[in-house]
Amino acid sequence: MDRPQTASVIDAAAAVIELRDTSKSYGAVQALRDGNLSLRPGEVRALLGENGAGKSTLVKVLGGVVRRDAGDMLVDGEAVDFHSPHDARDAGIAVIYQEPTLFPDLSIAENVVMGYHPLGSLRRIDRGLMHSRVQGLLDRLGVRLDPERPVRGLSIADQQIVEIAKALSFEARVLIMDEPTAALSGPEVERLFSVVRTLRQEGAAVLFISHRLDEVFAICDTVTVMRDGAVVHDAAIADMTPDEVVKRMVGRELSTLFPKQDAEIGEPVLSVHRLTREGVFFDVSFEVRAGEIVALAGLVGAGRSEVARAIFGIDRPDAGHVEVSGRRLPPARPLAAMRAGIGFVPEDRRQQGLVMDLSVARNATMTRMGALSRLGLINGAAEDRLALEWAKRLQLKFHRLSDPAGFLSGGNQQKVVLAKWLATEPKLLILDEPTRGIDVGTKSEVHRLMGELASRGVAVLMISSELPEVLGMADRVLVMHEGRLTAELSRDEADEESVIRAATGQLRAAAA
């Protein structure tokens, strides 16, 4: 049991919570091994790693959501065992999870205090106290939200704020945040960080997970790096550089992240004419030409994904229309968009991209069922052949084609989504956050693939929140702010400053 700690900069005796050699498996997959982590009061520790590295599993073990298979967990130096999230919470551990955990039918106030309502006489819920407490929390986070309104209909950023308020609602000694800033804008992130700093001064320990390295270096004291389900590095942040962190995460040196190939720009493939959806986006017009990669940039919530959904016919626009190669698409008809040659890799891979319970093969060929049929009956062998062909071309790592898609890692799942659309030989491929939450290796493969497609004359429309990706890949950058196109920047004009200014509404260039 007395194995030596991996190089820890933290005095283990002072740790408020500690994991020693914990492991966890789901079925045959070992999601966590050698899980060593300790948090001491007043420490803000970053937990870094590619997706699938085991961070979320470690967080779930700490939060009492899953039980570890082996190893020890210590709170204040004493061995504990969490049987449920309730136990973790009683031990003073607050967790903000990546997945939304809110109750859409209930008020913000009830969401925040759920399970821990303030009680009055006869153990009845004291609604007045509940309201004022939650109001106080929201004020502290600097947001103007009415505690009595239902959560249903809140923007993603506001939902994230409610999650944070929920985690702050009790005397947490340990605050764990799994990508809390993904949907937040600059000022909101700053506000959150000032709260985190206050907590640190009050002696709380914070575990911070983020993919934004600048944030990590701005706020964290120490860093734990995970790779392939194991903790591989533990150091003070002052001893690390961003490059070194990435190297530890990936386990190898990275070549260029954004291979840009020159492609011949051809005729317009997609023309969007004054597209409007009330309350979401307004008067959006632009073109994407063959061989061109156009990026749609902007803050989360600026209406970029919604424009893409309307183009593909998921949502019905209130005004305006879409043309593909000069032919007008009927509104709100995904099948028509597909037949016109549009492919759409959506934002939410798990919910919108794949049917997780169906096999890899069936997911990869879902868009081609008609073509794979003879006399109305699907030809199973042809189905497998097609799936296998794309698996090869995209270097998909899988066990069996008949395995459910849910068995694959995030990056490989994204490859299946890509295969599904590439199999339709699209003229226009819309990619909504194509590299979000996938490992660095797959990420550069996706970028290479995009370049390849463009060079073969496919028009590509990419939505991305990652500025380096946008600047590295795009021939042209369209920037949206609050539902409107605020800038169209050529490759030469686009740099961090010009894109951010347009995305935050400080620049209003006439959009084409």
């Binding site: 449920s84 999230p85 309730h86 955990t101 809110l102």
Partner: protein
């Protein structure tokens, strides 16, 4: 972390609150209005409808359904369903009849407790299969609907309990009044208020809504979901058990078919009363009003001498109208909330 600073509430906040509160109130108010209109129209066409006897019957009939609907609400709110209520009612109704006809001197309280306990035991079985066995509630309660009914048939073996064999003190419960209000109605009201307040003002009650609104979120928030869902099923079973005893008191004659087909009427009543079939919203009072409205429709059609055949069709149509209406209102509210959210961000 005590941060109870007095804050300046945003300008539109009070309005927003009133608006959302209004939406939730209007749902129950809508049924009251529909109920009032129905009674008024029927009364104009046939004044006998609002004579005491007629209204009394109406209230008596609705009482048992209101209690069952309250129990169903507890389960529906958690995104589950209890199809076995009719069968549970049948079991406990026969138990009450059997106990009293074989031991006429038995204390009535004991009979009630026995009926409720039997119902709670049935609910416990449902609950255990749903939580511990992880079998979907629809499957579990469809199965126990059959099993409990089958047990009823085995137990009664073709016999029935007749009113003559039951003590008057018991049967009077179904007919007597206190200060002009039938005892059955008083019992129903007391039950409704207790369950309603529990669901509204107690942690356990609120947690039922959380579970129905987002089961995974509830678990992550530390809600002991399994225990809560189990409680909901046990209470729903206990209320169905109570309903069974009251059924016997009211009708006097009980055989193995008591309560056959009640499950769908009870669910219909709850849904008409604004309880979402997929959990998260609705109140016991709404469900009870729904039960009253369904009962009133039946009575008024009878009084108006509309062919009895239209009753079922009318109830079905009403259910469809209310869910369609709810849906349209819900879409409007969603849109309004989204606009408000967008404005705030802008």
């Amino acid at each position: 972390m005590s941060v109870d600073t007095a804050s300046d509430v945003p300008a539109d906040s009070a309005k927003a609150r009133r608006y959302t509160e209004w939406v939730f109130r209007v749902r129950e108010l809508g049924i009251v209005v529909a109920l009032g209109l129905l009674i008024a129209v029927t009364a104009i066409l046939e004044p006998r409808f609002i004579e005491t006897d007629s209204l009394r019957n109406l209230a008596l009939n609705a009482s048992i359904f209101a209690i069952l609907a309250a129990g169903q609400t507890l389960v529906l709110v958690t995104r589950n369903v209890d199809l076995s209520v009719g069968s549970v009612l049948g079991l406990s109704a026969y138990l009450a009849g059997d106990l009293l006809s074989s031991h006429p001197g038995m204390a009535l309280l004991l009979v009630f407790l026995a009926g409720i306990a039997l119902g709670a035991a049935c609910g416990l079985l449902n609950g255990i299969l749903v939580t511990w066995g992880q079998v979907p509630a629809l499957v579990v309660t469809l199965g126990t609907l059959y099993t409990f009914r089958g047990l009823s048939f085995l137990w009664t073996n073709g016999k029935q309990v007749n009113a003559e064999t039951l003590p008057d003190s018991f049967l009077n419960l179904g007919t007597d009044s206190i200060l002009g209000v039938p005892i059955l109605v008083i019992i129903a009201l007391v039950v409704l208020v207790i369950v309603g307040q529990w669901l509204r003002d107690y942690r356990a009650g609120r947690e039922l809504y959380a579970i129905g609104s987002n089961p995974e979120g509830a678990r992550l928030a530390g809600v002991r979901s399994e225990r809560r869902v189990l409680t909901a099923f046990v209470l729903a079973g206990a209320l169905a058990g109570l309903g069974g005893v009251l059924f016997t008191a009211r009708f006097g004659t009980v055989d193995a078919t008591a309560g056959v087909g009640y499950e769908l009427t009870v669910i219909a009543a709850a849904v008409v009363g604004g309880v979402a079939i997929f959990g998260g919203t609705g109140s016991v009072y709404g469900a009870a009003l729904g039960a009253l409205l369904l009962g009133t429709i039946t009575s008024s059609l009878i009084v108006l001498r509309v062919e009895a055949f239209w009753q079922q069709a009318a109830i079905g149509a009403l259910l469809l109208l209310t869910i369609a209406f709810d849906r349209l209102i819900g879409l409007r509210v969603d849109a309004a909330l989204r606009r408000r959210s967008a404005r705030r961000a802008g």
